[in-house]
């Protein structure tokens, strides 16, 4: 695509401008207040009031102390290699599973939307498998794949794959008939229609799908890691539970929140960048 070369400086200036606007607006401070309220509620119920049901809960000071300790009581903190090994293991599985789901899911979705024959063969199977929760796949995944790593990656892939393929299919179906008729009028053969109309027309839905898919990937990953596998944040949370290392559970959860949010932001940014290059203003 011969997209016009828009000046890079403009883009940077725009980002700087938006950042200044954001800092000047009440939004970041409201967000801080929101987070503060959550932590305050936690501190109040567990540490100050010591509500009966919360007796076993790790409190805010205990978790903070453990998380920031150079010498953590239970072996996992910001200063231990184990922690990063777990984060890295999860990130790696997410990257592989999500990439596979995208590389396979997008073409399958495009074909489902594009070819009626393909849809008639594949869609019923698809609709049959799709509602099966990822957790139900765990035993089969362990039986099917050797080792502990492959089943986890497979499960991460599986959830994302269905979401990506389905959203891509919806994207193709959402393309206005006018564009297909116009392409036919202008003498486009099926391959050109596919390349110039179907793919770009479905793109907005595809990226929406990917944003959902990365969330599903984390969900499936943690489910899989809790049952099978070694290392990883799901594994960390589960073993901390069985070994009664409660503060570490929260460390794992908080990390999941932060890292998961980071990957979502990355996917959204990638989508926005690609869309800008493709349909400025469209």
């Amino acid at each position: 695509m011969a997209a016009p070369a828009t000046g890079e400086p403009d883009e940077l200036e725009l980002i700087a401008y938006r950042l200044r606007r954001w800092v000047a607006s009440p939004r970041p401070y409201l967000a801080l207040v929101g987070i503060g309220l959550l932590l305050g509620f936690w501190y109040l119920t567990v540490d100050l009031l010591q509500l009966p049901r919360f007796a076993q809960m790790p409190g805010l000071p205990a978790v903070l102390h453990e998380f920031l300790s150079r010498n953590p009581d239970y072996g996992t903190s910001l200063f231990t290699a184990d922690y990063y090994q777990d984060v890295w293991a999860s990130l790696r599985r997410i990257a592989i599973g999500f990439a596979l789901a995208t590389v396979l899911g997008v073409p399958v979705g495009l074909m489902l939307g594009w070819s009626q024959r393909f849809r008639e063969y594949v869609f019923p199977v698809f609709e049959l498998l799709r509602p099966i929760p990822i957790l139900a796949w765990v035993p089969l995944a362990i039986i099917m794949f050797a080792g502990s790593e492959t089943p986890v990656v497979y499960l991460t892939f599986l959830g994302s794959f269905f979401v990506t393929a389905l959203n891509t299919l919806l994207g193709v179906r959402s393309i206005d008939r006018r564009y297909l008729l116009a392409a036919a009028c202008l003498g486009a053969r099926p391959w050109s229609v596919f390349r110039h109309v179907i793919i770009p027309g479905a793109l907005p839905f595809i990226f929406t799908g990917l944003e959902i898919s990365i969330g599903i990937a984390w969900f499936s990953l943690v489910a899989a890691e809790m049952v099978s596998g070694q290392y990883g944040l799901g594994y960390l949370i589960n073993t901390s539970y069985t070994q009664v290392e409660y503060p570490t559970i929260v460390i794992g959860m908080v990390t999941l929140g932060v890292v998961g949010y980071g990957t979502s932001v990355l996917v959204r940014a990638a989508g926005a960048a690609l869309r800008r290059g493709h349909t400025r203003g469209g």
Binding site: R178, Y179, L181, A184, C185, L186, G187
Partner: protein, 280 residues
Amino acid sequence: MGQSRGALSFVDVTKTYRPGDEHVRAVEHCSFDVPPGEIFMIAGPSGCGKTTLLNAVAGFQGIDAGTIRLDGQILCGPDRQALPGPDRVVVFQEGALFPWKTILENVAFGPIVQNRLSRRDALEKARALMADAGLGGHEHDYPATVSSGVQRRAEIVRALMNDPTVLLLDEPYRALDRITKSLMHESLLEIHARSGVTILFITHDLEEAVFLGHRVAVMTARPGRHKQTIVIDLPHPRDYSIVTTPRFRELLQEVSDAVREEAVRAFAQGDAEGGLAVVR
């Protein structure tokens, strides 16, 4: 250029739609001729089958009986649906520029996907045609960022890139405001004067029909039949000053009377939509 191409002849064309158990006769025994190189307007109340005729020529749908010929060759018949192709390009009511391509890429699209021109030659030709149509400077804009007037002109230029035999316009200016519409009309007349392409133009707007057309065909209320073709003997090239001349008013009156008669008939038949088109 294409002065001798683009003769359309409709003979006994009939098309029935069957939504559920209902039979809706959209067009019945409709016959008329479109001379090559002219701007031929089809006017008539809503639901009189104007778009049905255009879709059949475009190859979007078939007909049940009769024939449509293009330059003597059979284009469609009861057992033969035309395939859409670059010799009969449609410009749509709602506009169909690809939003993910720049105006230039849109205009150059036809010859590139047909492998008729190299990408470079197609872009060059597109630039030249755009400049002719007063679209210079919009090459790298995306459709959503330009006015609807620019969009419509760009879509017509995109069609002309293919040197079509017939240009099929389905109320392309319906959504435009009056002033833009009048500018579009003059621009279309200019484009026509340059290219000589046959234009089949469907419209509700009778003033538009008389201003643009060499002829105006009036269709009857449903089932749509050809009622009469009124020759618009106003000289070319035309500009907007012509709309105040007595001859223009006279012709407009003639067309209005013909359409009105049909609309009233449609209204009496209970086809409220047909009535509304005229009340408007």
